[in-house]
């Protein structure tokens, strides 16, 4: 049984339908804002202590406190010896709803772990910063740092971040710098991954 809730349209009274009186009421509201704020600005510039006339945060100079739960940029956590904590289990890649994580696994030189990420790339432009990769990770290898607001760049390529960037937060390293680790496989798995996933 579908419950029907009739939505009653609010009928305007004749007074409201004449339009003009209601318009002037609106004008009173905006004019009050205008004159009160103007008075505050003038008062401030003359050196009086008045209430601030704005709610604007003057962004680059003034910053709003960021919540500690804010999910900013990704970070790959390190072991004490500096190698990535990631074991290339592909859990985050699987959990990612945007399919923006691309991992290439390789055999780890460290005998205690089986695999390690030869390439770990995130397309930040696809990422929706949902944090599911962080939830999915069994090794606590991927985290999202709080405090990062300015994810801005002049090119799309710079948003395609690689393992070195995620580990050290440094500027982008080129693939050629660790191409030797790739063991003959293509450094850019992205096209293959896209083909396999049908997008």
């Amino acid at each position: 049984m579908i419950e029907v809730k009739p939505v009653r349209r609010v009928e305007l009274s004749l007074w409201q339908k004449t339009y003009y009186p209601e318009l002037w009421k609106g004008m009173l509201v905006t004019s009050r804002h205008f004159f009160v704020n103007l008075g505050r600005h003038v008062g401030r510039s003359l050196g009086f202590k008045t209430k601030p006339a704005r709610v604007t945060i003057m962004y680059p100079e003034e910053r709003r406190p960021i919540s500690p739960r804010w999910r900013g940029r990704h970070r790959l956590m390190l072991r004490p010896d500096g190698s990535p904590r990631c074991v290339a289990c592909m859990m985050c890649e699987t959990a990612c709803p945007d399919l923006c994580i691309y991992i290439t696994a390789g055999e780890s030189p460290d005998g205690r772990v089986e695999k390690y990420p030869v390439a770990f790339e995130i397309d930040l432009l696809r990422c929706c910063f949902c944090g599911l990769c962080v939830e999915a990770c069994p090794e606590d290898a991927i985290r999202m740092d709080t405090g990062y607001l300015e994810l801005a760049s002049y090119s799309r390529a710079e948003f395609y971040v690689d393992r070195e960037f995620l580990m050290h937060g440094s500027i982008l390293t080129t693939h050629s710098q660790y191409a030797g680790e790739l063991d003959g496989r293509p450094a850019h798995r992205i096209d293959l991954v896209k083909l396999a996933r049908g997008h």
Partner: protein, 367 residues
């Protein structure tokens, strides 16, 4: 002969400077006023050597940007008309100002010089004529863009212009009947008369309904919110979509100039033009220039002080009306197109006609 020519050129220069300055200030006021209304700060970043002038430098930066922006012509667009459309949109606006007096007639030596570029017996018709020509620019812009949406934007503008030009014409008939003249100069002089000796016989007092009809109708002519259906900046594809850089800027400079001119027309017809209540010059009061209050008080003032006060009062009224139009623009939501048409044809027109009838009847009964 040379003196006459010099005077005319001088008056044109004053009027032109006035409009351009007004339009320039409006580009700044548009941003600052909207900011104040919504508790923001507004333009405050551009600076020359650290001097921001309350954001006025932003207007300069805007102008610089527009001048150096790419001038785009769509493929298969009509080059000549595309280039000329902004001119057609701006030119009539400046022409309109010619018949509006911005001060009282002044006497230089033995000649009397009216502070009005063109003393025209059909001044109001002239204003209406140039007001209607202004839409040609918009229509041509839509047509020359080779873009059917721009063309539709131009068509919307034309339909809107016709609908509201009608209201403007009808609402101005009331004041014309009251003052018995089509010359804005005569209208200005007539507004220094007083009802029962103490109420200034300004247009807004003898013709309040005409004022309430003229204000929105004239705002619809400037194509600004709440009547900005031809352009509708971000939501509706308007006539100026295919325009960039300074050509686009000219459309909007024209729009701002239109606001200044509109404020001047409103002040002239409805707010006593350059008149200040109870201020008379020597010619009107047997050589006793100054304030003559109805309860007998008399404040003597020099002849030139009276002139200065009157010119100032005109400028002040224009400024207040410019502010009012900005405030309206930032207060009211946009009309839907059918509402726009309905307001004009079915609601404002009967009231305008009724106003004319009642005015004519009263004038017949009084005289």
């Amino acid at each position: 002969m040379w003196l006459d020519l010099g005077l005319i050129v001088g008056k044109i220069a004053v009027a032109f400077t006035g409009i351009i300055t007004g339009a320039f200030v409006l580009t700044w006021a548009e941003r600052k006023q909207s900011a104040l209304i919504s508790d923001r700060i507004g333009a405050n970043r551009a600076a020359i050597l650290g001097i921001k002038l309350l954001g006025l430098i932003n207007s300069v930066a805007d102008a610089m940007k527009m001048v150096f922006k790419e001038d785009f012509l769509p493929p298969k667009g009509l080059r000549f008309l595309h280039a000329m459309a902004p001119v057609f949109a701006m030119f009539p606006v400046f022409m309109t100002f010619a018949v509006l007096p911005f001060g009282p007639p002044i006497s230089i030596g033995d000649r009397i010089v009216p502070l009005q570029i063109l003393q025209l017996d059909i001044g109001v018709l002239y204003i209406l004529a140039f007001g209607s020509i202004a839409v040609y620019g918009v229509m041509l812009a839509g047509w020359a863009s080779n873009n059917k949406y721009s063309l539709i934007g131009g068509m919307r503008a034309t339909a809107q212009m016709i609908s509201y030009e009608l209201i403007i014409g009808l609402s101005l008939i009331g004041p014309i009947l009251v003052y018995g003249s089509l010359d804005p100069g005569v209208m200005a002089t007539a507004q220094n008369e007083y009802l029962w000796g103490w109420i200034p016989k300004w247009g807004i007092i003898v013709q309040p309904i005409a004022f309430l009809l003229f204000l929105p109708a004239a705002m619809a002519e400037t194509k600004r919110a709440p009547f900005d259906l031809p352009e509708g900046e971000s939501e509706i594809i308007g006539f100026a979509t295919e325009y960039s850089g300074m050509r686009w800027g000219m459309f909007f400079l024209g729009e701002f100039a239109e606001i200044v001119v509109l404020a001047a027309v409103l002040a002239t017809v409805f707010l006593g033009s350059y008149q200040v209540p109870f201020l008379f010059d020597g010619g009107e009061m047997a050589g006793l220039a100054g304030f003559h209050f109805p309860w007998g008080a008399y404040v003597p003032l020099g002849e030139w002080v009276v002139v200065a006060l009157r010119v100032f009062s005109f400028g002040f009224k224009v400024l207040v009306l410019m502010w009012l139009q900005m405030q309206i623009r930032w207060t009211f939501p946009r009309f839907r197109y059918d509402q726009l048409m309905r307001v004009s044809w079915r609601e404002m027109m009967p009231i305008a006609l009724l106003n004319i009838g009642v005015t004519a009847l009263i004038i017949r009964l009084v005289s």
